[in-house]
């Protein structure tokens, strides 16, 4: 059983401890609490570099130092503190960095409210467990045989067929009925690759609908999108060795993943509001009267500084959009402002939680909206890579990883 060390402040008093336990149980993990001496807490500043006025945070830091000194205490770490607590936000981030820099134990950090449920945590905890449990599978660099990947996303369903390390067919449909959409995408990929279902040796599924379609297709691998997407991203970007950062802005949420040698080390998954997702870009395209596939090219001609826009909330973002157009702003400036706004929020909310290391790989359908990687480049000040098949990243990752199970 995978042991996840819980370093938390406020989880019990927020009434969500049972939810954290439920998420861990669902993925076959158990929570552990490394023991510390009173002296470890009182003298935490000597080892960790700081002590704060809240006792539970000092306890969390003391536990972190214990894990670094003895990594056998836990297989993974989850650092959780209350949302909106400044003191805890600083310490949460520092604990994550401390463990990441001083050990190989994977870390997840998360800020919760009393509304946080096991379901909210499930994908994150599942990814954490996967990085431990399937480390050898995640280290796989080549696809072999004939395999398929299906990514049942919140907005679109994607499928690829791979043979001998090459993508030979793709299928893409909007997600409506989850199973029907998966069948359509899969059949489209089969048709494009000139193969039949019987030719496929194994199927891997990922995305929000992974469990449902995994069962339907009798998939050999059903895996959350954080590990699968990061694998697909570094595979397609040819960045499987060394560090990399994967940014995936999806239709409903976004993910930032720090990868080392193809294996996720730390990650965040966010989506406070659709304003920081592909939904806002779709809405912008509709309001501007252009197809979403044209929005990026339009944005590249514009200057975001000519438009005041903040899509922190999709409702206020839409107001900014309408206001700017009614004030006579140019559509290209509005398009770029929308891209910049989404990128800025991912930068502020997600990328502050992972160690951004080059190459930065941007994936998912939104990465094809050219203005978005451009805006991210402007914010990060470094080149952003959009690999081929960027929108099929989850399906490619699933097809690649499931091929590793063919030999098992």
């Amino acid at each position: 059983m995978i042991r996840i060390a819980e370093l938390a402040c406020g989880a019990e008093y927020s009434g969500i401890q049972r939810e954290i336990e439920r998420a861990a149980e669902t993925v076959g993990a158990k929570l552990v609490y490394p023991e510390v001496d009173l002296d470890d807490i009182i003298n935490v500043e000597k080892k960790f570099g700081i002590s704060v006025s809240s006792g539970d945070l000092n306890l969390a830091m003391a536990r972190a130092t214990r894990i670094v000194e003895n990594p056998d205490l836990a297989d993974a770490v989850i650092v959780m503190t209350c949302f909106r607590c400044a003191e805890a936000a600083i310490i949460r981030s520092e604990i994550r960095k401390y463990i990441h820099q001083n050990s190989k134990v994977p870390v997840l950090s998360y800020s919760f409210t009393e509304r946080t449920t096991a379901e909210t945590l499930l994908t994150r905890v599942e990814a954490l467990v996967t990085t431990v449990k399937y480390r050898s599978l995640l280290a796989r660099e080549k696809q072999t045989g004939i395999t398929a990947g299906i990514d049942s996303g919140s907005t679109t369903t994607k499928s690829v067929i791979m043979r001998d390390n090459q993508v030979i067919g793709t299928g893409w449909v909007p997600t409506t009925d989850v199973i029907k959409s998966a069948e359509d995408a899969y059949n489209a990929a089969l048709k494009a690759s000139d193969l039949k279902a019987d030719d496929i040796q194994a199927i891997g599924t990922t995305g929000y609908g992974r469990f449902l379609i995994g069962k339907h297709f009798n998939a050999k691998l059903t895996q959350e999108e954080i590990t699968v997407n990061s694998k697909g991203a570094v595979f397609l970007a040819n960045a499987q060795k060394g560090p990399a950062t994967v940014i995936d802005i999806g239709g409903m949420d976004n993910k930032a993943i720090a990868v080392q040698d193809g294996i996720p080390g730390g990650f965040t998954m966010g989506g406070i509001c659709a304003g920081a997702s592909g939904r806002f870009l779709e809405l912008t395209a509709r309001r501007l009267g252009v197809d979403i596939s044209e929005l990026g090219k339009l944005a590249l001609k514009g200057n975001y500084q000519n438009v005041a826009m903040n899509s922190y909330c999709i409702v206020f973002g839409t107001q900014s959009l309408v206001n700017s157009l009614s004030m006579g702003c140019k559509p290209e400036d509005v398009a770029m402002a929308a891209c910049h706004s989404v990128a800025e929020q991912v930068y502020e909310q997600q990328l502050q939680e992972v160690d951004v290391k080059e190459p930065v790989v941007m994936v998912g359908g939104t990465s094809l909206v050219e203005g978005l990687p451009k805006a991210m480049e402007q914010l990060l000040g470094i080149k952003v890579i959009v690999p081929p098949y960027a929108q099929y990243i989850g399906a490619v990752g699933a097809a690649l990883l499931v091929s590793g199970l063919l030999e098992a």
Partner: protein
């Protein structure tokens, strides 16, 4: 017998002194015990559910972190019940705390602004101060009806 809220609300030293003087110490562990021993709630070990942070809205606004509101759901009613208060202004970690210093600050504020007799104390650093510490608490508690 008076009900005396103590700060830190987990201080065994203060609770013991209050009880010895024939008053009732209002302490957080009692509020926790009520939940721990309540078989109706299925959220062990403390049996605190997401309802507690909502109850805590009585003491802190919705933009205050949930952990503070959850703690206040336990400690707030104790403050309401109190006839008097004893506050240790500079408790060390060994004296006890709520785990969260923002909660500690709010608890001190609510005790001080309740309009009840409050004794403010410094933590004793030597034997002489300790004797003075106990004597002041004794005098304060004897003055309560």
């Amino acid at each position: 017998m008076a009900k005396v809220i103590i700060y830190p609300t987990t201080s065994l030293i203060l609770a013991d002194l209050v009880d010895r003087m024939g008053h009732k110490a209002l302490v957080a562990p009692e509020a926790v015990r009520d939940r721990v021993t309540n078989p109706e709630i299925k959220s062990p070990p403390l049996n605190i559910t997401p309802e507690e942070p909502k109850k805590g809205l009585k003491y802190a606004a919705v933009d205050v972190p949930s952990g503070i509101r959850g703690r206040m759901a336990l400690i707030g009613p104790l403050i309401e019940e109190a006839d008097a208060g004893i506050i240790l202004d500079d408790p060390g970690v060994l004296t006890g705390c709520a785990g969260c210093n923002r909660t500690n600050e709010l608890v001190r504020l609510l005790i001080k602004t309740k309009g009840i007799p409050v004794l403010d104390l410094k933590y004793p650093r030597d034997d002489t101060e300790a004797r003075g510490f106990v004597a002041r608490i004794k005098a304060f508690l004897e003055g309560l009806k």
